[in-house]
């Protein structure tokens, strides 16, 4: 790999480090445990939704309706809990079911009836917003009926205890090491090249050290936020789906060359509808987290979140034409978007300036990627 290619691969990682350095210098408490904890929750919400967006961007589709969807599904759960006194799990289950059905229908309209995704989901953006405001009657609906907590509100207020945090690390370490050992023995069995065992151990060691650092910092405040665990589960699932299943391979194939995919026996319709249904599930999850984070469902929940999700994907190297993108890139992209908002809030930047800054960073990131890719060729 030449230098330009390396630079392109790591450019957003480098950008992230620079942004963090900037906020560390420009504010007093960016690196405080409390702020990093808040940032991790904000990032968890953005990144979860962005990972769902990745699933439809890979096969060359798009979804502009997810922001309104986040509001609507969170609103449904809140109304069921506060106005109808449902159990929080049942309320979230109902919200999830609604989301799966809606996104399944949108996927069907897009691929079966060939209405462009941009149009269907632009319609969805408006329709869901209207439905959302009808559902909550344009008022503020708390996520908890009376005092105390429920499963919904705990999504962004519950933290793992320090002991639980370390236990989590131990469990992750166990599975990572087991997977690595298995993979090496498999590769040896098939006679493929093996990286030296010291390199492999070093890699795992560094990754676990980084995880340990995160847990230590989080434990200084309240512990690992539950929403970060949720993000971890979603990220791991999306990683497995995209990299280790047939369905994931088909997402890339459909986005890369739909006609070649059809002639290779790829069930394109099922793949696209499947991607939208999965996105629907993630929209519901994000809806619950975002609504819980605000403490109540109000008309502004989910505003412009579709653009943050798309921006996170694009900054992370996902192609809007389809066929290119991965989980790690999206996580970095989401962290950049969340960091910008968090850091500027700490600096007490005016809301209008925040919009301008975020938009500029998005445009710059994509320009840089295009520039570096042209230079690499």
């Amino acid at each position: 790999m030449n230098q330009t290619k390396l630079l392109r691969t790591y450019s957003m990682g480098i950008a992230l480090v620079l942004i963090w350095l900037f906020f560390t210098v420009a504010t007093d408490n960016f690196l405080s445990a409390r702020n990093l904890s808040i940032l991790s929750i904000e990032m968890a919400v953005t990144a979860t939704l962005a990972l769902g967006m990745l699933l439809v961007l890979l096969p060359g589709q798009i979804d502009l309706s997810v922001g309104s969807g986040v509001g609507l599904i969170g609103g449904i759960a809140a109304v069921l809990i506060f106005n109808h006194h449902w159990n929080a799990f049942a309320a979230m289950g109902a919200g999830l079911a609604v989301a799966l059905v809606i996104w399944g229908l949108m996927g069907t309209l897009i691929i079966q009836y060939r209405v462009p995704a941009f149009i269907i989901t632009l319609g969805g953006l408006l329709v869901f917003k209207g439905l959302f405001w009808k559902v909550i009657d344009s008022e503020t609906v708390p996520v908890v009926a009376g005092a105390g907590d429920n499963a919904l509100s705990l999504l962004t207020t519950h933290y793992l205890t320090p002991a639980q945090g370390f236990l989590l690390l131990a469990v992750i370490a166990f599975f990572v090491i087991r997977a690595s050992v298995r993979q090496r023995s498999q590769r040896a069995k098939y006679g493929f090249e093996l990286e030296s065992s010291s390199t492999a151990i070093l890699k795992i060691f560094v990754a676990l050290q980084a995880l340990l650092l995160i847990i230590l910092v989080m434990n200084q405040f309240r512990g690992i936020p539950l929403s970060v665990v949720v993000l971890g589960i979603v990220a791991f699932s999306v990683y497995i789906i995209t990299m280790h299943t047939r369905f994931g391979r088909y997402l890339y194939a459909v986005g890369g060359n739909k006609e070649a995919a059809i002639l290779s026996g790829v069930p394109v319709k099922k793949v696209i509808i499947g991607a939208y249904v999965m996105l629907g599930g993630i929209v519901a999850l994000t809806g619950f987290m975002q609504t819980a984070y605000s403490g109540a469902s109000t008309t502004t929940i989910g505003n412009l979140m579709e653009l943050d999700a798309i921006a996170a994907c694009v900054i992370g190297g996902t192609s809007l034409a389809g066929g290119r993108g991965n989980v790690l890139g999206v996580l970095i992209g989401a962290l950049i978007m969340a960091t910008l908002l968090n850091g500027m809030t700490l600096m007490a930047v005016a809301p209008e300036t925040k919009f301008i800054a975020r938009g500029t960073v998005l445009a710059l990131a994509v320009w840089l990627d295009v520039y570096l890719s042209q230079k690499a060729d």
Partner: protein
């Protein structure tokens, strides 16, 4: 001695790790047709790109002289203003525009306010067409033209820029034989009008017909330049591959066994054209047999294989039985499950995910075999990929190389590997050797032999009659969607095939 309109001396062009042109020297005499022959990757296209300014002057070593002036092309525009025009294999026309709009695209005559003078555009295009005896209507939409006619539009577009040297990069790769004849006539007309042509083609018969001189390239070097009267076809091939090729079509017949696919009275409706594109087609193919399909462009050959593969058209009537099962041809996945696989004529559009690597493409149609409990077994997949990569001798660093960067012949091998990996019992090969070099062609033929020896059947669609006659056991010629004739290859001639191709219509 004729005047030299272009001279290339000691041209060397390097890419990272590759010597694309190695001390190439070559010249053009005024008004000649000069053929360039060589396998893919031999350096012909790189030379064209140097001559046409795609590669700027400072990216290569050596000199290019145009009419005794040293050329210093920095952009394509520089080469154009020196009178050099290029017709690429892949057409660069806007399908939704008319012939005249395409011809003048980027050169529209305007008045002082920037308003385009449309009457002039159409009138000038018309007179240009008349000057070269081209049968085209300036007002037709390019989308409505055949490939051959589209090629003519490209040529007119180049002529408009006062081109005196026309570089044609495999202009006949997508044309049928009759369209090729028209193109060759046009090149002769151009020659009479003083235009010098460089003609790149893999089809040596055309080269022998049209060229005055031929220069052969191999591994980036110019091997020899000969007058066409002083060189035989076999010698050109020997120079191209660096060894003797005794047989161009090494078909080894195997004994056909039980019937594999039988088609009875098939009629297919084309929803795009709103008519029946195939009518009353019946045939049987046995295991171990190569059945060739010939015919003119638009006769329905591609439509037939695409329909049998479940990717095209609506069945009006007829029955398709594959290995005893009745096929309804609803989707390619059903065809693949029944043991069929298609290698499309358009590998970039229908065959490959260009931005992905070789392994991704090879295993795309066979992933079910590598899935356990919903998860992919990457190791088993890679192993199978490497095995095919090796056995097909794909020229690339490894299976992780991106397909878009490979030469045409190697891309075709990746498509073939994808087909083989599905372990089909019947393979449809639609123009499998289009645009690939002689060496790769021989490997494709060898592969056909291997398949039939393993008891598999091959349906071979080809526009090249020698290939059909050489590689098929039997040939069916389609004519306007109907069967125009059926032949045993060993007893058939090109004339008979051509007659059958024009029997309906």
């Amino acid at each position: 001695m004729k005047q030299k309109v272009l001279q290339v001396s000691a041209l060397t062009k390097r890419f990272p790790g590759v010597l694309a042109l190695d001390d190439v020297s070559f010249d053009l005499e005024e008004g000649e047709v000069h053929a360039l022959c060589g396998e893919n990757g031999a350096g012909k296209s790189t030379l064209i790109k140097c001559l046409s300014g795609v590669w700027p002057v400072d990216t290569y070593e050596g000199d290019i002289w145009v009419n005794t002036r040293r050329a210093q092309f920095k952009h394509i525009k520089d080469a154009e203003s020196a009178g050099i025009g290029v017709i690429y294999q892949e057409l660069a026309l806007v399908r939704e525009m008319t012939v005249a709009e395409n011809v003048y695209l980027g050169n529209e005559p305007t008045n002082r306010l920037g308003k385009i003078d449309w009457p002039k555009v159409y009138a000038d295009t018309q007179s240009l067409l008349e000057k070269y005896n081209l049968d085209l209507d300036p007002t037709s939409l390019v989308a409505d033209l055949g490939i051959g006619q589209q090629q003519l539009v490209e040529i007119v577009k180049a002529l408009l820029k006062n081109t005196s040297i026309l570089l044609l990069d495999e202009p006949t790769a997508a044309l049928t034989e009759s369209e090729v004849d028209i193109l060759l006539d046009i090149i002769r007309d151009l020659k009479n009008n003083g235009v010098t042509c460089v003609y790149i083609s893999h089809k040596l018969d055309e080269v022998m017909q049209i060229a005055d001189r031929v220069t052969v390239f191999r591994d980036g070097a110019s091997i020899a330049t000969s007058h066409i009267g002083n060189i035989a076809k076999a010698e050109i091939i020997r120079q191209m591959v660096g060894r003797n090729i005794d047989e161009l079509f090494p078909r080894r017949s195997s004994s056909p066994a039980k019937p594999l696919l039988s088609v009875t009275n098939l009629t297919v409706f084309d929803p795009l054209e709103n008519n029946n594109c195939l009518e009353g087609i019946s045939f049987t193919i046995k295991a171990g047999e190569v059945l060739g399909f010939g015919g003119l462009m638009g006769a329905g050959r591609t439509e037939l294989v695409m329909h049998l593969f479940g990717a095209f058209g609506n069945r009006v009537s007829g029955e398709v039985i594959c290995s005893g099962k009745s096929m309804h041809n609803s989707a390619p996945i059903d065809a693949i499950n029944a043991g069929m696989m298609l290698v499309s004529e358009d590998r970039k559009r229908y065959g490959l995910v260009l931005e992905k690597d070789i392994g991704f493409n090879q295993s795309l149609a066979s992933l079910a075999r590598f899935s356990q409990h919903g998860l992919l077994d990457h190791h088993a997949e890679t192993l199978a990929n490497k095995k095919l990569f090796k056995s097909l001798r794909i020229k690339a660093p490894n299976v992780e190389s991106i397909v878009g960067g490979l030469s045409g012949g190697n891309q075709q091998k990746v498509v073939l590997a994808k087909a083989l990996m599905t372990q089909p019992s019947l393979v449809f090969l639609d123009e499998p050797t289009r645009g690939i070099d002689v060496g790769a062609k021989l490997e494709v033929y060898e592969l056909i032999n291997q398949l039939t020896e393993q008891g598999k059947a091959v349906i071979l669609v080809s526009s090249e009659m020698p290939e059909l006659l050489g590689m098929s056991d039997r040939i069916i010629v389609l004519s306007d969607g109907k069967i125009g004739g059926e032949f045993v290859s060993a007893q058939a001639t090109q004339e008979q095939l051509l007659q059958a191709a024009m029997s309906h219509g």
